[in-house]
Structures are given as structure tokens and as C-alpha cells.
Amino acid sequence: MTLAPARRTGPEAGPARPAPVLSVRDLRVSFPSEAGPVEAVRGVDFDLLPGRTLGIVGESGSGKSATALAVIGLLPPTARLGGRILLGGRDLAAMDDTELSRVRGKDIGMVFQDPMSALTPIFSVGRLLSQALRVHRDLSRKDAWEQAVELLDLVGIPDPRERAKAFPHEFSGGMRQRVVIALAIANKPSVLVADEPTTALDVTVQAQILDVLRLAQRETGAGLVLITHDLGVVAGYADDVAVMYAGRIVEHAGVDELFGRPTMPYTARLLAGVPTVDSGVERPLIPIGGEPPSLVGLPDGCAFAPRCAVARDLCRTTEPDLAAPAGRPGRVACHRAQEIADGSLDPAGDATPPPPARAAERTVGDVVLRVEDLVRTFPVTKGTLLKRRVGILHAVNRVGFELRAGETLALVGESGSGKTTTLREVLRLRAPEGGRIEVAGTDVATLRSAAQVRGLRREIQIVLQDPTDALDPRLTVFDLLAEPLQAAGADRTAVRSRVPRLLDLVGLDRAVGDRFPAALSGGQRQRVGIARALAREPKLLVLDEPLSALDVSVQAGIVNLLVRLKRELGLAYLVVAHDLAVVRHFSDRIAVMYLGHIVESGATEEIFARPRHPYTKALLSAIPLPDPERERRRERIVLKGEQPSAARLPAGCVFVDRCPLHREADESVRTRCRTERPPTVGASDGSDHQYACHAV
């Protein structure tokens, strides 16, 4: 299904602005903590017009979620709320919980991040929906059920009459989120609040859900507050954007103005630091130095001043107000906004981009990892006492690749594609269920003793996804870095001399050694994780989603660090990621996985420029671009449905059920797609670009 997203013309075209459905004035939220009150939201103002979408963007801790919770009145009881939240002339901030319950769900609809925990598991979705209707309206049981079925139909649940009887766990993630949206619009609210509605979903499903959300908004005519950290989502779906930093809105403008000519230095730097799918790889990522501030005891000046390249003395002493610079729509909280608006100052500062450290210096060395025909299955069992085997889950199916020193290979795919299983199999250093794994020239099946396995461990190390969980909270950074050395039998003096050098290597201050991980920021923790992996000078570093747990403004710094380390130490990286845009910036080759199979592989630029496999094409097109202009113009391939379970693999091509090419192909090809698994073939130009598809 190919569609160019239709877009309404904004009401600002007309002379008369309609009255806002939601007005937030000087909203303040603080939470008590041991260290003092955490000022999560510090004076937020905005108006939401009917039928319009306001995107609120910010990093974790910027106060965007606290704002959402305040609007829907679901702040924890310990929170202190100030200011006014006007909804149709009533002040929600002054209401008690009983009064709010009459507003919530009726005048305000909510879509939460995690659709699983947003639905009560013991009721069928039809019952959940009819309950939501009957709470606010006088409906008979039967009428409510009928309306529930209609709502499910509206949000695109196939066979709604039957599915209404199903329970939440019987739905897939994307379908569950559709149900949550149906719940949110059940009573035709005038305001919809969506808090990271697609963050928990796969990227090909994300596009579907955003379309449903837009449809739901059009049906109800509600104003939508879309809260997200993803600038691409905002670019494609919002009319106005408010950028939050340290509890305040720092820039508020129409989506085109904001992305076209960002005025606040933070916005400008954020846009410069975000990797995109379609920008050239040569465009370097310019990281924002430092970390987002803590919200306890903020300094007097602008909260962004310590990280700002164009900050002046005034910025460090007084906090700027949100004001409209002359000659530009939108409001900005910056002392130098006028200069920036006039074009006399570059908000990103004079930070010269780092020299492109890429393909030019790509020296390919020996093969450090060779995987051939790797197979991994898991039994599907039923019953608790006597476990019966009822099927086999083919997690990884005949996967093969090769990785050389100085090279980065990215395994890309959605959750359940088998990429993490592949990685774990490689790291296990044991004979695989099927196929061959060769690490640094040694076939792991030949390793006999535990000592031999430990010996090979020094060649291959891992950086885990979530640095908070990957570092033992009870050990200091020094001990964390000493651990791999001690495991290898290093003595005290060797450890003492190596740890400070490791900290230098990843750009951390040596004094960090005495801290516990809890006292570090997310970016610093990930640097510790990388340093730990490098402690024994491995040849191969396995990176399991190294950036997905980090804030956008910190990601660029880690990407640049990884690129530099690879160059300096001649490492090979095996990266697992779901985000193609991030991967593009530091991988040489990409292998796209779907249901345990590599469906396409090749050089990064080749894959991005000439994707062959329909799944790769869909994956590339599903990623929203942080540029409203192009985001609106380009053709998107929105895949139908979701990735099926690996326990019931189709006999033919694994992608056949969702494939747009298959539906258009002629009969003979269609039969082959159904019955015959496509072989991996190389592209005609003789490069290492390979894909597995009958229809291409």
C-alpha cells in the first residue's frame, strides 16, 4: 500500500482563529525528593486549537511527560501542581480527583506509551470499550457494545465483531495500540493526549499507528497533544511544535518554521545532531557537549547556557522569557533570539564539524568473525507440569556473514527478527545448533574446555543496550573496569595503571573512577560500558542497540566516540540496531533481517541508495524524517500487518504475507513466493550486495 500522506491545510490560513480547546497557563509541577524539590515543569504556556496537532519534543527529564500527566490530571499525589489548565472554560488544575474523573475519558482522551499495560488484561476489548462509553453516557449494554464494534472498525481492527470478544493479550502490539486509540476517542473528546504513542512499537508499525491517530483526530475534530522524543514523528504529524528543555518550553513555532529555521540554539543543535536516513553519511553529527541538567536546584541563568555555543554572560545570570523575536513567527526563550532571527548569528555556534572519519580510511584486515548457516531454534512448549513440545520457533535460520578488522557490520531488523539471538549465539562461544561460527580464526566448536572459551573471550566483547542495567550498581567505576582485567588474571599494579588509561580512551575524566554508576549520566554510563568492553583489547566489539537507551543529544557523541575508537584501535564492530538512520552513520555494511533470515545485505551506501528487497524498502521508508517538507512530499510504503510469529514460518518466502510486490506480481511468481524459499542472489554489478527475493 503506497500512499502520500494527505494533509489538511492549517486553520491559520483563515483570518479568524478558532477558540483554543485547551489553554495551559504558567503550568508548574514539582516533585519532592531527598535532594530538594524536582522542578519538572517550570512555567509552561500553550494553546491547543481544535483539529490541530501540537508536538511537544524533549529529551528525558525535559518535563514533557509531566506536562501530559498534569493535563490529564494523573500526576502522582506527591506532586505539586501550579498554574491553570483551561479546558472549555473550566480549570482542571483546581479540580479534585472526583471532578477530574468526569472530564477524563470524556473531554480528554489519552493514548499511553505501552499499550499492554494500558489495557486491563482480564476484560475483553469490547467490554473495555463499552465500559468506557457507559461511564460517561447513558447507554444500554447492547448499544454500547455496538458502538464499541464500530470504534474497533474505525481504528482498523479487521473483523471487529469477532475481535471485540478477544482479550488484550490476544492482540499484537500494534493492534493493542489501535484499541487504546479507540478507547481514547470513544467519547469524542475535544482534546487527545498521546504520550510517546509509538515508542514501544516497531518502525513499520509506527507509521500505521500514526495514520490511525490522524484518522481518529479527524473523526473527532479533537486537538492532539503529541508528546515524543522523535523529531521525525513531529515533523510528519504536528502542526505546531514546542521544544522543551529543563522543564520549560524553549521554542514554540509552526512545524515548518521550526525545522526550517530553528532559532533557539538547543533546537538548532538538536537538529544538527540527529542522524537521518536520507542525509549523506558524510554529513557529520555534531554532538551537543555535556548532558541535560538535573532539575534539582537549577542555576539562575538559562538552563541550556552550559551547553550552548553562543551563550553570553547574561545567559548565565538571568533566564530568558519566551518571547517572539521581531520578523519571525513563533516564540523563543533566548537572549540572542533577535540576532539569530536577523541572521547575524548562527545558533549552532562556530563548532566546526569534525573531519569525516569514514570510508576513506576503511582498511580491511583479517576476518575476525565468520558465521555460516547459523541455525537456532527454541522448542515451543505447552503445559506446566508435563511440558509437551507443540512446535519449533525458528529464531535464526541459516544466517551467514563475515566481518573483517576495521569494519562495521550492522544487523538491522524489527523486534523478533532474530538479530539479538544471532548476537547471543556468537557471544556464547559454544558449538551452535547448526552451522559454523569462527571467531578470530578459531572455530568455536573446537573449543573443549572452559579455559579455552575464556581464552577466546578476550577477542570478543559486548556493549549492552541499557547502560543502567549493564553496570552493577554496587561497584564503583574503577571496580567495573577492573573486573574484566581481574577475570583475566591481571595483578593489582596492572589494573591500577590500565583503568585510568581506559577512562582517557573513552573521554571520561579520571576522577569518575571513584563514583558509582548511579551518580553518572546516561552518556557517561555508556562510555563506561564501552571502556569495560575494551579493557582486554578485543578484536571484535559487539554492540547491542548501543544508542537506543540514550537521549538524542547524547547519541551523537557516542557515535563519534565509536567511530574514533574503531579508527584508532582497528576494531571490528558487529552492531545490532532497529534504527537504520543511526546505523548509517557508522556502519560499512548492513544486513537486514526478517524472521530469522537475512533478506538483504550489502554496503551501507548501496543499501540506502538502491534497496532491492521490498522489506528493506519499506523499512527505509517507514523511518520518519526530521524535515516536514520532505516528510510530506516523499512516497511512503506502509506495510500491512505485523511480523508473524517465528513458530509458524511460511513455506515459501518469509515476507510473503506483508509483501507489497507479491500482491502485484504475476501468477507464476506468486506461486513461487508461496511455495519456494527465495535463494540469496548477488546483484548484477558484482558488488557484495545480496538479496533474497523472487519478485525483484
Binding site: A35, P306, A470, D472, R496, R510
Partner: protein
């Protein structure tokens, strides 16, 4: 949080020179020497005033039990037949009991016995249950199944019955009491430790340690058990109190402390009967037990806060 200062002008360190609050930046020019975890813990512990108070009380109790006997001419087994059930006075500071024994001398000796028994048993029980519970959870498979089967079997065996059967051979020695209390006391804590450890073994840092080539025993000792800290310490403090009390129950079966030997437990049991007629027989041992418990709790809480890096109390100095 400070800006990571990169020593070289590499891409990621590019903006390290961006203006930042100098005061917040960690001091550069670190000499590469680190305090080490133990000294950090001691430092955090010493910031906590109640914990230090707990240590002081505990030390005073130990000193009292060791040297308190020097201040009285009476021995705890001496019977003063001229002063039976006498209230506290100049001659007998804490009074005497029905048999004419000096309560002060008995309390000193009883405290000594109870301290040794209760603290040893409590530490042993917690240590055994931590290693066995966390080890079983981490190793999994057959080891885990066998350990759980043993625990569940021992939990349903009536321990007092077994003790009664073997008592005539082993009874009488307080060192046997320590062994017996440990052998019959480790299971329930182990069961709890095991169930908490099953969630810890799934954590990424355990996985990371495995991938670094850390040996299983070290993973258990270094990554799993320390993260059970609060649970173990609560068990340790509660264990001291419950051991003092269960010791009396076992004395009934002929185990442990037998007359003329005394412990806080036996003194409490004897004194409870005469609480209205001769309250001092109960009050003094009870007071000592309370002091022992309170000090153990203070120390335990202080240890928990000092060992828990997420606790702000440990870092801020014990003011909640």
C-alpha cells in the same frame, strides 16, 4: 554532571571546551589513585550518625560482657543465701534471684553467652543462605532443583522432634547449640534469597560479567549477593533477636545453656514468671536485649545505606 573531558581533540571531545560551569566539572589532573570500594563504604558508613551510635552501643555491650564481671565480687553461679529475691541495692546492684544469684553477675555472663551465640548463629545463617540461595539461582538446572527440594524437605521436617531424638547425645554444650540453630534456621532465608536472586540473574550486568569471562562463583559473590544487601542485613538483625528467644525454647529440650550456666534467654524465661513480684529479674536482661537489638538495627541500617549506592542517605550523611 561534568562534561567528559577528552584529552585529545577527537570528534567526540570537540565540544569539551564549550563553556561549562567550572565548579561542576570534576577536577582534572587526577593522579590515577582510587579510594577503593571498601574505603568508600567506610566513609559512607561513618557519615551516618545513627549507625555510628549503633556501633558505640554494640561496643559498650561487648566491653560490658567482657569486663563487667571485674566490678562485682560475686560470681554468677555463687548463691548468696542471705539475700534471696532481693531488690537492687548497694550490695547487689541488680538485685538477686530466688536462688540468691547476683543478677548483675548473671547478666554480664548471660550477655556474653547470648552475644556469642546470637551473633554467630545469625551471621552463619545469613552467610549460608546467601551463598546457597544465590548460587542455586545462578547455576540453575539440576543444582537449583536439588537445592530447592532439600530446602522444602527440611522446611517440613519437624525440627524439634529431630532435636529431641538426638538431644541425649549432643545436648549440653553451647557450641552445639550454635550448630543446631544454624542447621535448622537457614532454609527459610535461603528460600527468600533464591526467589529474589532469580530476578537478579536475568540482569544485564550478570550477563556482561559472563561475557567478560568471570567465573560463576565470582559472579555469585560479587554481583548477586551484594545486590541482595538490604534483604540480608534485615535478616541479620532480625536473626539476632530471634536467636536470643529461640535459644530458650531449645534449652527446654536440654540443648544449649543449662543451669548453672545462664544466658539472656534463660534469664528472660525465668524472670517472666515473677514480673509482678520481682520485676528486676526481667527488667535487666530485657533492657540488655533491647540495647543489643537496637544497636544491631542501627548498624544494619547504616550498612544497608552505605552499601546501597542509590541511597541518598548514605551520601548525604544520614539525615532523612
Amino acid at each position: 554532571m561534568g562534561i567528559p573531558v577528552s584529552p585529545d581533540t577527537t570528534p567526540d571531545g570537540l565540544l569539551a571546551t564549550a563553556p561549562g560551569p567550572a565548579a561542576q566539572r570534576p577536577p582534572s589532573g587526577h593522579d590515577g589513585r582510587y579510594l577503593g570500594r571498601r574505603r568508600l563504604y567506610v566513609r559512607r558508613f561513618r557519615r551516618n550518625r545513627t549507625a555510628v551510635a549503633g556501633v558505640v552501643i554494640l561496643l559498650l555491650l561487648v566491653l560490658f560482657s567482657a569486663f563487667g564481671g571485674l566490678f562485682t565480687p560475686y560470681h554468677f553461679s555463687d548463691a548468696d543465701f542471705s539475700a534471696l529475691t532481693q531488690a537492687p541495692g548497694a550490695e547487689h546492684w541488680f538485685g538477686t534471684n530466688q536462688g540468691g544469684n547476683d543478677v548483675y553477675a548473671s547478666a554480664v555472663h548471660g550477655l556474653q553467652r547470648s552475644l556469642v551465640i546470637a551473633v554467630t548463629v545469625s551471621v552463619l545463617t545469613v552467610a549460608v543462605s546467601a551463598v546457597v540461595g544465590a548460587g542455586a539461582a545462578y547455576l540453575g538446572g539440576r543444582v537449583e532443583k536439588a537445592t530447592l527440594a532439600l530446602i522444602h524437605f527440611l522446611l517440613i521436617v519437624p525440627s524439634f522432634l529431630v532435636l529431641a531424638l538426638v538431644s541425649h547425645r549432643l545436648a549440653g554444650d553451647w557450641r552445639v547449640l550454635i550448630l543446631v540453630l544454624t542447621v535448622f534456621g537457614w532454609m527459610s532465608t535461603t528460600r527468600v534469597v533464591w526467589s529474589v536472586s532469580t530476578s537478579l540473574r536475568e540482569r544485564d550486568y550478570v550477563l556482561a560479567a559472563e561475557f567478560m569471562g568471570v567465573r560463576p562463583l565470582r559472579v555469585v559473590l560479587r554481583h548477586i549477593i551484594p545486590n541482595l544487601g538490604s534483604l540480608l542485613i534485615v535478616n541479620l538483625t532480625l536473626g539476632v533477636v530471634s536467636t536470643v528467644l529461640s535459644e530458650t525454647a531449645l534449652s527446654f529440650l536440654g540443648f544449649g545453656v543449662q543451669t548453672p550456666d545462664v544466658s539472656l534467654g534463660t534469664m528472660l524465661a525465668d524472670g517472666a514468671g515473677t514480673i509482678t513480684s520481682a520485676p528486676w529479674l526481667f527488667a535487666f536482661p530485657a533492657g540488655l536485649t533491647v540495647l543489643l537489638t537496637v544497636s544491631m538495627t542501627f548498624v544494619g541500617d547504616g550498612l544497608r545505606d552505605a552499601l546501597d549506592p542509590t541511597s541518598t542517605t548514605g551520601a548525604a550523611g544520614g539525615r532523612r
